[in-house]
Symmetry: C2
Subunit: 237 residues, 2 copies
DNA sequence: AGTGGTTACAGTCATTGTGACGTTAACCTG
DNA sequence: CAGGTTAACGTCACAATGACTGTAACCACT
């Protein structure tokens, strides 16, 4: 029996398995990283992949995404920014079954003290995409590439960058988010001016952040300003 | 037997029906319109809805979208612009089954001579969304709203507007696309300058377009310039 | 043929946003 | 206290934009 015949018999028209895969991005050590997990179900239990789960009968898609992060990576982040990326449904993207996968983009600040379980890890996105060899299961390499482009684009027109940092934050921390995601170096003074001139992006809070071990003037602290869209936008150089 | 029990039994974890619904937008008579169809399968055969089809076993999602347009609205547009919008998967969005729907946004110029079959029609988007009463089946009103916002946003930083017009086109035709989708009136001279100063947006072709019945100077003709992203962007007023 | 109306196209001017760069302020270490 | 580092602020030239005026090329009507 050929694989094609098998698939057509097992998955008649309009009936597919629906899964949710999550590309969680975070900035650690000034580098954009993506969360990977070792699947606990075949196939590809040897390869790393994005955390993903089948959609349960009484679950909406957002809930499945949260559950995938919680069960496969120990990340319980109900307040993490979560948005749909796109849906991948080519026949043959999974060699064993017709699986339509709704991919999510998740953004969250992971504190340095947070420890991942042994079957999960953070990997720099640039390193993952630069290598010609595909190190991920299924089409998850493509999903990571799409997630990166979405994040880069969203930083321009939305206040999404604040989802990468914990409150309160300094403008230098916010700038390092842009630099890590875009992969560029930004002029510090101009960045400050643009953020200040974009209404609702950030608002100052009381107190200052102490300088690092290398000294420097204490930085003012800010919190998200409530705006979701940025006017004017923070365009990439 | 309750409806919930029925759904849980018929649609166990991870197994859903997957459909593709298409929101096809076009500009006719200077007004943004969306294509609706009468479903040929229950439920909601009385209400208008977006053309949609179940995903076939050997089909990818794009192919299903094209098939839905062809079978339900007689629109055979293999060159129409087609992009994923988002996926709607709340339990209960279809009262009879757990259906996960991948929504697509389609953009195409429909010539004035094209006639739709009797079970399909074009409806002004503004009129559809302005009425408080929901005239569409399922959550298709929400899909139309999301499609409109996506189209409005994409016009800003991509050359998507050219997908609404036939080649060759005049700058006035292109401007009327922006005005219809955004619902604003644009300054004609400034629009011309912005388009001309955006490299790769349009390129001039030979010949001129004759004036309409109300006279006026003949307009130069243009075709898409090959760029997909616009630099600088055409921001909404 | 001439006049007024309409549309296409081109230019001016003040304002705003931006990139590049310099200056001052407030901390660190030695 | 000196030198280094980071934060914060200011200046200047240029590009982009909104509002507006002027010119060109067609129409219909008298």
């Amino acid at each position: 029996m050929s694989a094609q015949t098998t698939m057509a018999e097992l998955w008649p028209d309009g009936l597919c398995a629906v899964a949710v895969d999550v590309a969680l991005l975070t900035v650690r050590d000034g580098v954009l990283q993506v969360l990977l997990a070792k699947p606990d179900t075949p196939p590809f239990t040897a390869l790393w992949s994005l955390p993903g789960r089948r959609v349960a009968a009484d679950e909406n898609l957002d809930e499945t995404a949260h559950r995938a992060l919680r069960e496969l990576a120990g990340v319980a982040a109900p307040d993490a920014h979560l948005q749909q990326l796109r849906t991948y449904g080519d026949p043959g993207r999974d060699p064993h079954a017709r699986i339509v996968s709704v991919a999510y983009l998740a953004l969250t600040p992971l504190t340095d003290t947070f420890v991942l379980p042994s079957h999960a890890q953070l990997v720099p996105v640039a390193q993952l995409l630069a290598n010609g060899a595909n190190q991920l299961a299924y089409d998850h390499r493509q999903i990571v590439a799409d997630a990166l482009e979405r994040a880069r684009s969203k930083l321009e027109y939305s206040s999404l960058a604040t989802a990468f940092v914990t409150e309160p934050f300094t403008l230098a921390e916010l700038r390092r988010v842009y630099e890590a995601v875009w992969g560029v170096v930004l002029d510090e003074a101009n960045f400050r001016r643009k953020v200040a001139h974009t209404p609702g992006f950030v608002v100052e809070v009381s107190g200052v952040a102490p300088p690092g071990p290398e000294g420097g003037r204490p930085a003012k602290r800010y919190k998200p300003g409530g705006a979701t869209q940025l006017h004017p936008a923070m365009l990439r150089p």
